[in-house]
Symmetry: C2
Subunit: 192 residues, 2 copies
Amino acid sequence: MIWGMGRWEPNARGRLEQAAMELFIERGFEQATVTEIARRAGLTQRTFFRHFADKREVLFWGQGALQELLVSTVASAPASAAPIDAVAAALEAAGASLQERHEHARQRQAIINANPELRERELIKLATLASAIAATLRQRGVSDPAASLTAEAGIAVFKVAFERWVSEPGQPDLPKIIRQSLDDLRTVTAAK
Amino acid sequence: MIWGMGRWEPNARGRLEQAAMELFIERGFEQATVTEIARRAGLTQRTFFRHFADKREVLFWGQGALQELLVSTVASAPASAAPIDAVAAALEAAGASLQERHEHARQRQAIINANPELRERELIKLATLASAIAATLRQRGVSDPAASLTAEAGIAVFKVAFERWVSEPGQPDLPKIIRQSLDDLRTVTAAK
């Protein structure tokens, strides 16, 4: 027996995530328990809680890194960059960081769409990212309402682009879809 | 005694709303009880529950009418109107409908900003309005991603404009701030 004895488990985190996603899809997020997730991964509950605060965190642990990437990319844009270009660079960097996990993102989105509480949590995540981007733009000297509008528009673009990306089969290019969506936003908002 | 006897109460709804807002500000949303709200209004709990499902509904009962106004204005725009112009007309109509309640909106926003659960509820409200606008644009023959992007951008404009409006003293003109914010969005997203 090597499982459940507190020793180092190879890729415990990845196995727990995979087991959790399978169970969320098979049984629904509400019904799946941490006990079942750990059992399917061949690990203990204790190991689960060393990696995740609760089962919801399996779906949202990436938010911190995503926010850090967005904020650091906006902050490190050249001083001469227009706010929207700094935000576009950040969204594309975020897109590139997610690109390899297309199948995971598709599964995650299906789980979230099926559960009102998770959809709310996802909205809060997006609003939190918009606030963080707006705060970073203000630190770059962008005043309001430009900072808020640029950040909110950027997150609106990201949301729509992400939904397109997860709904398309194959391995579509998320950074490219983000650039296209920003161009689409300019087109749809253009004054006649 | 005319209170609490089930007879018609003059402006019971308005009195309950006023009493609730006062108590939410004085004691916090969590702490204020329906019993206290009814007592301050000089009415019974039973009367309260004839008008509101719970104390949170005091802050969100307007959502249905707001959504109806947005959807019907988008739906009734001339067939030749660009999607963004249909949405702009809807947002301005919504702004005009809120204009007379500036002081109420200021108080409501302070209550919501002080409570994480209410902030989440407000985000859900805005996302629901964006979905309803996008669905109405699709019924007008607008395809995606243009429908989603126009709706999300419109709600981003509304959110930022509303925050500007409630943070300004006096009786600023909300429809005008909405128009300015849409122009600001065009400016901040313009390609160089």
